[in-house]
Point group: C2
Chain length 293, copies 2
DNA sequence: TCGAATCAATAGGTATGTCCTATGGAGCTT
DNA sequence: AAGCTCCATAGGACATACCTATTGATTCGA
């Protein structure tokens, strides 16, 4: 019997539903199912009756539920008290992330963090780079997830990782299998551009122009997901970051590296210079440095 | 924060000593140290002052200790109640093992089992095969760890694994590096025999005689460890099971397979035919089947 | 009554984390 | 000063909790 199993169990009872319970616990539904099953096996009897649409406690389940509540509240209580005692409070963390990075980094980081500090309050803010920077300066946000280069502001940064920008083409497109693909090839194709409101859009444009390649922009979109759909349906090709390629579930796009002189973007954590950081913030930064990629 | 961490912590406080606490928890001292350190890190402050010879609680530690006791007793309590409810009692398990297998299998199995069922009572009995069988028949033991073949008695068995009997020679001995080693080679060397009181000794003798090889027995011993020491100091060579070879810490023996027709022994779990098995016994058997090797 | 939708369980693979052994280094004891 | 005792660190093995993808069962709506 483990504490996380008790948490899962209580969540299922409260939500009367495995799927919602899993969301509440920040794990996948199968993971939660597995742990409940394991708990039942260990205790030698079912805790829940699965009645199709809803879920009901068995006698054993009722017994466990009461104790589990008590155990969890004791554990949570002592964590709060200890946090109090060390003078750190329970912890609040406000993270900002630019829109073209947020969906690919935040889920994992927040999940990890939520598990380590179940009582910390996490506030997420997705926005354009400049707004994030503004809020960092105003102290509304503790840290931001941004891309280099950053405008000149008193920010401290730590690098997360550098990723390549890959050429996204429709599956089966001739560029998908061509041996060498250069910016000259790119210039000949219709191009779907991330809106240069986003720093990613600016970076892509800058990269092209530096190489005297003026892409034939047939369409611009402000969301990566939309770009992927457009590329997938043959509207044009585009340049997208690796993390977006990994997360692509459309199955209609192929991704490949350019043959030389590959474009990249570097993601960093940034915070206002000299800002005091509570323990949870420091821990979040440390954790992100190690596990962002 | 995890339950096992709380158990370790409480054990350290009770024993005032990491090493003893580790023994009580059936884990190694470094494992326990690690978990305590991890717990302190997560809570953001030390729980114990290490004062060389003894260990003292910090304020935070005192706070946690009280709560931990409460949490653990609640958890243990509910496990007992649930066991009660399913009508299985808390569980008692009496395991017998023949002397030439016990030290190599029991520690791991008992450790695993002790973790899964911290409240089950485990009784160990090491003895010669026949005594184990007698006690199984009399119902004093729930299961026995024995080797095939078994005398004709109403026993049910399940196979654990088959292991080779390896030739044990002093390090640097010419047989250690000879390409092919046969029973003819063995017959030429002085031989240290496990006392045929043990079924292992009988098996070794039988194996030799079946191949018309009469070993020159210079010495017989009733303990594998002693045999290893004797072989290591050059008294003679011997045939020993793989598990004993793996556990050999003398560093003075070399082990190798015979070139053909290799001798083996097969270890099994055995219990009296038709004997009712409580849940802990069934679980022990299942666990042993999977993790004995 | 059939098709769609919802939901839990299963399968397969990855990675995190706990455990082990071996070793180091600090503080007592003799 | 040498030897003990004891906790921490290092490195590698194994177990297990996690994920995605998929199946199978049930319920709901048409």
């Amino acid at each position: 019997m483990e504490l996380h199993q008790l948490r899962y169990f209580v969540a299922v009872v409260d939500e009367e539903n495995f799927t919602r319970a899993a969301e509440r616990c920040l794990v996948s539904q199968p993971s939660l199912s597995q742990q409940i099953i394991k708990l039942e096996k260990e205790l030698g009897q079912p805790l829940l009756e699965r009645l199709g649409r809803r879920v009901q406690l068995t006698d054993a389940g009722r017994l466990l539920y009461d104790k589990a509540l008590r155990v969890l509240s004791t554990v949570d209580g002592v964590q709060d008290e200890l946090a109090e005692l060390s003078g750190e409070g329970r912890g609040r963390l406000a993270v900002g992330a630019m829109l073209t990075a947020a969906p690919y980094l935040l889920p994992k980081l927040v999940r990890r963090f939520g598990r380590r500090f179940p009582h910390a309050e996490i506030i997420l803010h997705e926005d354009l780079t400049e707004q994030i920077v503004d809020r960092l300066m105003q102290g509304e946000l503790d840290v931001g997830i941004l891309a280099l280069p950053l405008e000149q502001r008193p920010l401290e940064t730590t690098e997360l990782f550098t990723e390549e920008l890959l050429l996204a083409v429709p599956k089966g497109h001739r560029l998908a299998s061509k041996k060498r693909v250069t910016m000259a090839d790119v210039a000949r194709e219709p191009f779907v551009l991330i809106d240069p409101l986003h720093c990613l859009g600016q970076q892509v444009l800058a990269f092209c122009l530096e190489r005297d390649c003026r892409p034939r922009v047939v369409c611009r979109s402000s969301q990566i997901l939309t770009v992927q759909q457009l590329v997938g349906s043959g509207v044009g090709i585009s340049l997208l970051p690796e993390c977006a390629a990994r997360a692509d579930r459309t199955r209609k796009c192929a991704y490949r590296s350019l043959s030389a002189d590959r474009p990249t973007r570097t993601l960093v954590l940034a915070w206002r210079e000299g800002r005091h950081q509570s323990r949870v913030v420091r821990e979040f930064i440390r954790d992100a440095e190690q596990h962002a990629k």
